[in-house]
Amino acid sequence: MAEEKIEAKTEAAAEPQVEATPAPEPFVGDIVTPDLKFVNEIMTGGGESLKKCYQCATCSVVCNLTPEDNPFPRKEMIHAQWGLKDKLFSNPDIWLCHQCGDCTAYCPRGAKPGEVLNAVRKLSIEHYAAPSFLGKMVGKPGSLVPLLAVPAVIFGIILAFLGHLNLDAIRNEAGKIAYSSLIKSYYIDGVFVPIFLFAVVSLAIGILRYWKDMKQATGAVPQGSILSAIGETIGEILTHRRFEQCNITKDRKLAHMLVLFSFAGLAITTAWAVLYLYGYEIMHAMGKTPYSWLLGPSPYPLTDPMKILANLSALGLLIGIVLVINNRLKNQEKAGKGGYYDWLLIYIIFAVMASGILAELVRLADIAVLAYAIYFVHLIVVFFLFAYAPFSKMAHMLYRATAMVFAKATNRDVELK
């Protein structure tokens, strides 16, 4: 390592000791470079209590998720106090933490290790995100308006290009309000498909960098099959077994599961809708009569199985996110409230669900102007959710999963009871 080279050089250059004392054994140790800027970033990024820690290790004792060997979050607290960014980032441990808040609840000094690790994770996402400027922007409250302005401008330009003036008159062939009549799906997908690809590529870059750093810093060589580690990880995520280890915030499991599975439901719905539309369009373009179950452009009847799944998922996600909000407020005294970064994602998901459900209800109520306005908002927040996923807390999904896979593959995992 580079540090060792510097080490060797300085040792060789060291002058002999003063005569009064016998020459001590040469000292071999890593050079530690404190980073005040990074400490300030943690403290302003949700970990303002960081410096209160006095290393008593109560946090590591109460944590049910830490491995016994070299446990977290105690060591992360001292690394964070000294601003040792690399030690924190290139380590699976900050993500093995599921932010139960047990450590925060029991910390005798009010140092809130859970909140500090949360802030470190935020900075870690920023650090690995590509491009990095977006990472910094998403974490900053001041950048919220410009970030929202991007989709607003894009969709505004599209609307201006389409030249809709009389919103009330926009109807489909059946005379119903149809969002696909406002902006054709091609336009929507023309925006969202590249955005989705961008997010996937950005996340992939981040994850690969993280994996590389972990391998290098820990010196651990993944053993056995990575695939089986991935399989185990997915199994744990689906069952939320780690959430069960938490004490203070036990009820998070239901809320988080609802959110996760509803997202999955909505993902299936999206694929399903793509099939309905493009299946229909392709068959049509090929001059064939589309199958009768390929329903073509939206809206779809409420009785359609796909629509049923969509509505259930939407409701599930709304309930899930409301429960998340409720839990956080309920536990804020003990487990910490979280920072801007957490609440940004929560509110965006809430906004996506609220605007989506409202758009559907208002459409059914046939109030055209309002419906189209809400739909416009819905487009903006959905864009926000996907385009900025690699930079927002949304990315936790993949970083934590990656850390879990790495930990399993390198035997740093903890046996769950």
Binding site: E7, T10, A13, A14, E15, Q17, V18, A20, T21, P24, F27, V28, G29, D30, I31, V32, T33, P34, L36, V39, N40, M43, K51, K52, Y54, Q55, K75, I78, H79, Q81, W82, G83, L84
Partner: protein, 742 residues
Amino acid sequence: MEKKFGVYICKGCGIGESLDIEKLTKVSKRGPIQEEHIKVHDVLCSPEGIQLIKNDIKGGTNTAIIVACSPRVKYEEFDFPGCLTERVNIREFVAWTQPPNDEETQALAEDYIAMGTVKVQKSDLPTPAILENLSNDLLVIGGGISGMTAALEAANTGYKVFLVEKEPELGGFARKLYKKIPTRDFKEPIIVDTDIEKTAKEVESHPNIKVYKSSRVEKTEGQPGLFDVTISGASGTETVKIGAIVMATGGVPYDATKLGHLGYGKFKNVVTNVEFEAIAKQGPIARPSDGKEVTKVAFIQCAGSRDPEHLPYCSSMCCATSLKQARYVRQNPNSLAMIFYKDIRTPGRLEAFYREAQNDAGVMLTKGDVHGVSDAGNGNLFVEVEHTLLGEKAKFEADLVVLATGMVPTTRAPQEYLDGLTAAVAKGDEPKKAYLESTLKPEFILNLAYRQGPELPSLEGACGFADSNFICFQYETRRTGIYAAGTVRQPMNMTEAQEDAAGAAFKAIQCIDHVAKGISVHPRAWDLSFPDPQLIRCTACKRCTEECPFGAIEEDAKGIPSFNVNRCRRCGTCLGACPERIVSFKDYSVDMIGSMIKAIDVPEEDVFRIVCLVCENDAYPALDTLAMQRKQIDTCIRFISLRCLGGMNLVWIADAMAKGIDGFLLLGCKYGENYQCHFVKGSELANYRFSKVGETLSKLQLEAERVQLMQVAIDEYHQLPDMLNTFAAKVKEMGPNPFKEF
């Protein structure tokens, strides 16, 4: 004065249930005590009981024997001025610790009454020795924060104060500081001005304070109330009459040149915390090597402290000082202060100061053992640390390294010099001459014209600090009337030093007050008696002058001692020291204790008797405490209270054994490094004398184990029953003292 006796037996607190009081009354008639002198009361400490005694005193009774509870309780009730009063403790020593209504228990109570009776017969009411032309003025040595505070505190109560400062201006160590830690609130501003100038002005303008700057004490003669102190300075030499002295000469930083392993002396950018104050005072913190403004400062805590090679103790203020100095560094928001500590020790409210500092993003702290300091190029340094909280060994680069050095009391150098001299003198004239020639004489502080030496004597474990018995009496030194305050007494911060100064000033005032009344100062702060030797029989052996723990006794050219009563603490060590037994107090003498032992009834048959001499300061209250818990003690033991075991005279043991007493026990305070003796050396002296007891016993052809000395601290009362009963069992195992038969 003819003694008119009154014996008052109390039946309360279980005494009446435990003993046959009627029988006790009958046997109390002895010698001059007649039946009409003996009175029994159900509750003697009740207003009626007290009135009973008072009426007798009005009727002419001048010697009262109160047969009731321990003299350590109800002392206000049983206080009869002008009446010689003896407290016979049959509550704690008999009723509460012995089987009730037992023949041996009854005999025990009878012995205690007999001993009390003999004691008053051998005593007289003390009349105080009040010397003439006493001074009420105070001398404060040292014009730092402690000295100035002591002077102001005393002056504000109306006492006249002479303040001697060796520097040309007042302020002492605090004058060297850039800022200090606020005393009230540790929120913003976190560091404040020392305001030392304000205090100095207040002192200099005070009508009751006379300040001598650039001056020192050339000579201190006399005794409390009558000190003649010679002060010499730029304006000449002057001798002033002083009542009591506050010594506030402070400390000096530990000599950093001994800290070569931390780079001091080798690297210009390694400085001490005192030097750092001077650097910070000059504005933006610039390092010595090239004047560059520093942004990364490393603080090494315990530099030479808590280290047997250097200072074995903790100076208690270096942690807070480094936290304060870290704030100097942090006045530049981009600067970093790194603190490497063994333990952060910020006692009391300073914990809040620590927390505030810790909360600062740029104050980085880690526990660790600093291995050394090495060159990092360009004037920068690596601090090499092991066992850090960060994990393995690590090196930290810094622009400047500050060593948190501890403090050394100003009393240490003179003590070391004088101890060295004493050792050289003991070896002969040649070594003495060599020592004087080779050793640099340090600055003396008091220059006492005392036989036992010109400065405060050194004390094992005190590391040179002006300490006497830090557990109970913090300002006392081993020279009566001289009170230590501030960092000369023990390491402390400025706030503590101010409190200390007030305490020492008030102790000095108390001393002046007691001297005026002819009363001892602590711990016998009620005692009017004083040693009154029959010098005509003195053999000039000088043992009393050497052994007096307080240097109260001077001697003339022939070696005949003269007792300075105002220096005396009335411990009675001289009683034990004198082979001729010529030193006596009105109410405390070798004959008195000897007669008490002889008053014990020693039955001829196989009944055992053990005498136990107990120290009144620790062992006696420990016995009272175990009695409160109703612990049982072997009935054959008779306790006799001594002012200090240092007064123990071997003749008592010889007489007791010759009389047929089966065992003899001495119960004294702990001695050695963590000694508890109120008179510093008493129990240690007793132990020394005790080492000679074997001779006496072998003359009598008795087992050496029949006589033992045991150490007990006041809080070890729970161990006492076992210690006492085991000893009694051992004596019984040895069988009765064969001298019983004679």
